[in-house]
């Protein structure tokens, strides 16, 4: 990748910088400057980098995406908003990278729980933010992180105190409404010791090209339980780069459900660092049609003994779509008795669809139980014949089996409204016609 594009972004930066939140904070200004320098030197990631070898992002260099100024709620189509906003949640809406108080619904949130825009948090709680921003990840990870650090316009800060079990999930709805807009957001989620929260990140946009670069940092306290859902339904023309970076304390549990459906080019990175006896579950489903390129990277770092990790990613790819899965599990020398299992299953529905999958186990401890499995293939002919012998015609049998394959991941969602919404999205985007809900 050339740095010519980076230079164009860097040239624009001085005019954008004064509009970014946290200008008065020396630590943040320094962080942003460091990030800008890194990004200017490197540009966007290149396929020559091992972590990006299957995903060429040069297509985003055709345009210069710029952050939006503040957005007014009146410009948002209510029906469209409602189609993504979940009932029975506290809902935070970010439009083109800016928090909208008007569209957000936070009534009845317990007083001890903080849910506020990143801009507000940087103004009101700068010291707290200093100890969380760029802690679970840093600018060296890859240049999109540096890019996000330098450019983020807003985002969200969630802080749940120790021992608090939040009764409803928090939904963070990222909406993009303008062509060529850059939505760069930073979200920080902090769960105190023994806290229990569920957060749903939803990404959607109007039918235009835009660049979404979102970074979420999660801190899971000792014995806390955090479940994070990501429903990525960006527009068919959009570019999405999202990263979730997690630090798990002792005995902490983190579960992630990643539904990657949208975007022309979409990449999601998930990284979790596990302490002693912490548990990490990563579930993913990607559906690719037409010429979509959907890339998911996960990295699980077992740093201390007795950690458990479970990972299952499934992909259904049709037309000329390409799915990428790179999963790394790293077991440090100190992480004895680690128990880890990683699986990636891909279903190719057309001859032109492609799946690239690369599971990696790096084990430096000697007393561990780790495994991985990968499949790329077509539907099982035995299953098709079985259904045919039960009166089901071949085409319907194929649809049923494909849908059932994907639905296993949808069924893991424990929040009813989200389950139904994701299922609706699967049915809308499903490559095959004639798929029925009643099969479930």
């Amino acid at each position: 990748m050339t740095t010519a594009t980076a230079s164009r972004y860097a040239a624009e930066y001085p005019t954008i910088a004064p509009t970014l939140p946290g200008q008065s904070l020396p630590w943040l200004t320094a962080l942003r400057q460091e990030a800008l320098a890194k990004f200017s030197a490197q540009g966007f990631p290149s396929p020559r980098e091992e972590e990006w070898r299957y995903t060429n992002v040069s297509v985003i260099e055709k345009k210069l995406f710029s952050p939006a100024g503040s957005v007014t709620a009146g410009d948002i189509d209510c029906e469209w908003l409602k189609s993504y906003q979940l009932p029975d949640t506290w809902s935070v809406v970010l439009v083109d990278g800016h928090f909208s108080a008007e569209l957000s619904v936070l009534d009845g949130l317990p007083e001890t729980v903080l849910v506020m825009s990143m801009a507000e948090a940087l103004a009101k709680q700068p010291d707290t933010l200093e100890s969380y921003i760029n802690q679970a990840v840093n600018n060296d990870e890859h240049s999109f992180i540096a890019f996000n650090t330098a450019w983020f316009t807003d985002g969200l800060f969630v802080h749940v105190p120790a021992k608090l079990v939040l009764e409803k999930p928090i939904q963070v709805l990222h909406l993009a409404t303008q062509a060529d807009v850059l939505t760069a957001t930073r979200t920080v989620i902090v769960a105190g010791d023994m806290a229990d929260i569920k957060v749903i990140e939803t990404f959607a946009g109007l039918d235009v090209a835009y660049l979404s670069a979102a970074v979420t940092e999660v801190s899971v306290g000792a014995n806390a339980d955090v479940t994070l859902y990501k429903m990525q339904c960006e527009s068919e023309k959009a570019y999405h780069f999202g990263g979730i970076y997690v630090k798990q304390a002792k005995d902490a549990r983190f579960t992630h459900h990643n539904f990657a459906f949208g975007g022309l080019l979409a990449r999601c990175d998930i990284l979790s660092n596990l302490d002693q006896a912490s548990e990490c579950n990563l579930n993913g489903l990607y559906l690719g049609v037409k010429r979509q390129h959907i890339d998911n990277h996960t990295r699980i770092n077992h740093l201390k003994p007795h950690g458990i990790s479970r990972e299952l990613y499934k992909g259904v790819l049709d037309d000329r779509a390409r799915g990428v899965f790179q999963g790394r599990v790293i077991v440090a020398e100190d992480a004895q008795k680690t128990d880890s299992q990683m699986n990636n299953r891909n279903l190719l529905l057309s001859d032109d669809a492609e799946a690239d999958t690369k599971p990696q186990l790096e084990i430096y401890a000697d007393d561990v139980k780790c495994g991985h499995g990968v499949t790329v293939g077509q539907l099982d002919e035995k299953s098709i014949f079985y259904l045919q012998s039960r009166c089901i015609d071949e085409e319907t049998a194929r649809n049923m089996l494909t849908f059932a394959f994907a639905n296993e991941m949808v069924d893991k969602i424990k929040i009813k409204s989200l389950h139904d919404k994701v299922l609706e999205q699967v049915l809308v985007r499903f490559p095959q016609e004639g798929v029925e809900k009643s099969w479930l």
């Binding site: 012998s389 015609d393 059932a404």
Partner: protein
């Protein structure tokens, strides 16, 4: 009901069935016995329409129609049912949904309206009791995580609900303990009717203790080498298959 005439079948250019002749009349139970590799399973697969076999000669006529021309789902809708030796697990598709979808496609095929939801549930629950199954099996994914015995019961449950005309049981007794075998046999016996025929493919005689066949055929090296009544099965139990294979070889 079913007329097989001089049927020859190849798998990968190797002849597996070498001229099978079999006449099955409505209401009859035929047992096809034979040693491993004799072509028993091939015969049941050919009748149900599984891909991977090439018919090189002969004919199979079912209720006056050329069975071999029909795709598997049409055979099933016409009333041919194969109870699998190894029922397939279908994660993500619930048992009860498959039953309903199958029943409705049969009804649609015969120009009948879809089954009423309440009537369907009553029918299913009756049959579940008949096969001494737990109702919760209905709501689980098809065969997923079922034990060997549960899978075989599930096959018979499907058969009981779909009410086929020609039931082909492929090694239904394999992997069943004696209690499960009795339940499965009772299920089959309850389905005996003047207009329903059975083909039971089996290696052992023990299933025939519970389901009494009208005819027993011995298949060896792709041909029926001997046919007789139920007593032939007992003779086979005593003497094994080798005397028949040998006599054939000598002839």
């Amino acid at each position: 009901m079913l007329s097989i005439k001089n049927l020859t079948v190849n798998v990968n250019d190797k002849q597996i069935l070498k001229g099978i002749n079999l006449e099955i009349k409505p209401g009859e139970i035929h047992a096809i016995m034979g040693p491993n590799g004799s072509g028993k399973s091939t015969l049941s697969h050919i009748l149900s329409g599984k891909a991977g076999y090439t018919v090189t000669g002969g004919s199979v006529t079912y209720q006056g129609k050329n069975l071999l021309e029909m795709p598997p789902e049409i055979r099933a809708r016409e009333g041919v049912f194969l109870a699998f030796q190894y029922p397939v697990e279908i994660p993500g598709v619930s048992n009860i949904y498959l039953l309903k979808a199958a029943l409705n496609s049969i009804r649609k095929y015969h120009g009948q309206p879809e089954v009423d939801a309440m009537d369907f549930l009553t029918l299913v629950k009756d049959k579940v009791r008949l096969l001494e199954m737990d109702e919760k099996f209905l709501y689980r994914a098809v065969n997923e995580g079922f034990s060997g015995g549960e899978k075989k019961r599930n096959e018979i449950l499907q058969m009981a609900i779909l009410e086929p005309k020609l039931c082909i049981l492929d090694e239904t007794d394999s992997g069943l303990d004696i209690d499960a075998l009795k339940v499965v046999a009772e299920g089959v016996n309850s389905l005996r009717a003047v207009d329903r025929s059975f083909v039971m493919v089996t290696h052992y005689q023990r299933l025939l203790d519970y389901i009494k066949p009208d005819f027993v055929h011995v298949l060896a090296h792709g041909q029926i080498v001997k046919s007789g009544g139920a007593e032939l099965a007992l003779e086979l139990e005593e003497k094994g298959y080798s005397w028949l294979e040998d006599s054939k070889a000598a002839a």
